[in-house]
Symmetry: D2
Subunit: 286 residues, 4 copies
């Protein structure tokens, strides 16, 4: 009988009420399983009183062994936790409308292996982007949405999520509002890109609003979707400088760059289990 | 008889309804006065239909001659205009409360000749910053403000503006709200620094609001003061990246840097006649 | 007989030794042709003593009329000048190797009408990116380059430039060095993207060099190609923050974003005639 | 007998060859001393094979107890380490010449308690900044440096470092080159601000060099001083956008802002024990 020498890189994320001994207990548990910590980050939020940890560890232990080891710890410290293998592409469903820039960007990044996602399908309420999905060999699902067919459309969407086994849904400029129920059922698993520097310019036409107000910098915000529109926990924001010469169309064009890179970062961090929820705020272990 | 060889660098700024022939007329008028244009910027706003121009010109002509030449042009094109000598420090009154960073910064920049202003006095509703004013040899005026004494305080302020011949008033984290009348009477001549990326987080405690919302970037906004609080025309904005580890106190500290450099830029551009009003927006000829 | 009412938007760019009367003369010439100036920028470089101007003008005059009017002016002031219609897509040839990000980006921007270029072909020294060219309906030319076949490859390249009528050649991560003669013959018409913040990290492997040096910010530089490698006039640069956790591969990935947006800006500004050469520096009328 | 309830916030930093068990051993040692970890960061450098850790811990243990506990661990893992109390202002000596901006900035930040340093003196090779030191109640030492008096000047400097008990020396635009011996003797304890984005534009006149090259972004670099000029480990860099209109004087003015904020960050991180040396690179636990 020879020892198993094959090791796996694991990512363990957890949050719990803050208190002494958590890091020691986790590090001890991992040491008992021959784990070598390659990356570790902790954060204690003085406002919420919660503790957050993300640890990347190389170990020969099996998933079952690790789960068995974490479970009593989780009970002891009242932890919410997750265990995944590092680098595993996250099954992701992309929802789009007519604007192509975020879709093109995410699919290109997946193909060039710069984003650990496995796009399992593209859903469009219009057919405009079907050819892009085809170029990247992705199934395209046309799910039109009108006022009257909204419930049916959402039902179709739910079926697609279930059918594809999607773990993450990305609203890549989807422009449709999901129902409260849908948001609740997939809390922390739907990421949106809003084309403004939230909380400025919520709602429709943010670039027009930004132009009207005469701001000198525009931005984009990627956040988890909640029932409260444009109020979900922010994952990432970025900005670009503009000036009086820019028309609304210029802002739209400039904003596309900001949107796609903001969204790509948020998706990357989520897929790498770097984003933890802290109430309506996020802890991002970059 | 010898020709006058002494020349002056002039800055002419103007705005008027857009239409053909304006640049040609202005350039022609300047050429007639032996003017050599060293810097010139124009902008036609397709939204407001207004035309804006800033021209820096070297000429041996006297102020009287130039004014006489501009006056009929201004009448013909319905211009709002201003003529000043380039590099002349603008007489500026600084209003402060307890926070020192903007005051220290502006006074340092004036002394190091990096900001074309002549600070004619510092007004504080508290005495905390009196020693800084003294170090830079600036008269300090203590004008306390309470609910009951607000009208008297504003009267004192008006007297100081008149008495010092101040052309510009800078609210360097003054923390007091000026009356509508005061704002109207000095429209386009009072600059404020707001410690948020407007229109996000208007009103009090913007860093607390920013922390609560969990934004990933904070900012500052320098704008002209109007009766409509935090709604005046924006001159300049800047931002800084933050993350979940930053407390509200951290945001305050990080924000100080953003505030002082945003305010310094706005004051510089105003003092160099680079900022023109376009309704509730600004044209900034940087 | 009726007046011609059809107007064209023209872009006139020029540079010449600085001196009085240039703006007036140009504005006068344009006024005589019923031109309405919609955008105009000037710059006098105190170091080189040269004057630069870009003016966008709406006029019913024909190209012939305008050329006839500019010609004597150009002679009088010793001008280098160019006249083009605004918004005309510039015929552009893209040279690539194996890295897809710049190609994907430029083709996407052309298709979404966010970049005023007409890509007349894609040349690759490898076949890797042929499918991307095909997706965007662009002819792909495989021109392999080895030490021995370099002259033939360059001859093929010259033929392609002539055959397609390309006005601009973009090295979209082409990774091959052009001959001095080629650079000279197309001076100011070949744009390269270098994957470092020049003049830091010239030559090969800039991200490895950047990692070795432990810099905290990486960048990209878009410049005109000259015989002097990585020394051509810089059009645009941009940067991204990095830290000690980033591997060389991370820098490559992060850098791709910086490269593509830096290159896209440089190409846009060139195609809109916003870039003028001032010796080995550039004037960019953004 | 009552238990000691007074606790201290400690910062423990360490680096050692990477391997399994380090985090567990450190966390265990701290747990044994009733330590509650409030902040912890680790990094394993795949290039150098070294492991780095910074842990902030609240504990009632005495310094002696902690030192006794760390010592055997350090021996076991071959650690370089340091233990300090959190928030203790670091004794700092500022070296200046004629440029005031960095001095004014650092002293202001100390006074406003935004920088955990205790400036124990200001040394100038000129007397220009004596009044600023006086305003902040800091002893000013005039140590002129000429070619002939260099050794004497350095001897005086060494005496001041010893006499004041300075732990950190900051070259706040000092403009003098220290001897190799001086650099070696204070390795990792002298911080310089170089007014370029290193490794671009080493040596004298970096802004003139930047202007000549026509770069579109300028920067500043704060680094530890080594005998190899402008080659020391980089702690922080920052940049600012510039364009063709900026003269060399403009670059100097714009650069001052970048310099002072880059230097202030580097000093803060060093004073908070966030900077660890990894060969000629730095690990910065921000």
């Amino acid at each position: 009988m020879t020892a198993q020498t094959e090791t796996t890189h694991w990512i363990l994320t957890l949050s719990c009420p803050d208190g002494p001994g958590i890091v020691h207990a986790v590090a001890g548990m991992l040491a008992e399983h021959g784990g070598n910590i390659t990356e570790s980050q902790q954060f204690g939020d003085p406002y919420s009183g919660r503790f957050f940890m993300r640890v990347q560890v190389e170990s020969a232990a099996s998933r079952e062994d690790l789960v068995s080891a974490v479970t009593p710890l989780a009970a002891r410290f009242d932890m919410t936790w997750n265990l995944d293998t590092a680098g595993r592409p996250m099954r992701t469903l992309l929802l789009v409308s007519r604007a192509a820039h975020c879709l093109v960007d995410l699919l290109y990044r997946e193909r060039s292996q710069h984003l650990p996602i496995d796009v399992v399908g593209v859903v469009g309420n219009h057919r405009d982007l079907e050819d892009i999905a085809a170029f990247y060999d992705k199934p395209f699902h046309h799910v039109p949405v009108t006022k009257d067919t909204k419930p049916q459309a959402e039902a179709a969407l739910r079926e697609l999520i279930t059918g594809t086994g999607a773990e993450l849904v990305v609203l890549a400029r989807y422009m449709q509002i999901l129902s409260d129920e849908m948001c609740r059922d997939h809390a922390g698993r739907i990421i949106n890109i809003h084309h403004s520097f939230l909380p400025s310019f919520k709602g429709a036409g943010p670039y027009r609003q930004a132009h009207d107000r005469g701001v000198k910098i525009i931005g984009a915000t990627s956040h988890y979707v909640t029932g409260d529109l444009d109020e979900g926990p922010i994952i990432e924001q970025d900005v670009e400088r503009v000036d009086h010469t820019h028309t609304i169309d210029d802002l739209v064009r400039i904003g596309e760059d900001t949107e796609r890179r903001t969204l790509a970062r948020a998706v990357r961090w989520h897929a790498e289990h770097r984003v933890l929820l802290d109430g309506h705020r996020t802890v991002v272990f970059r």
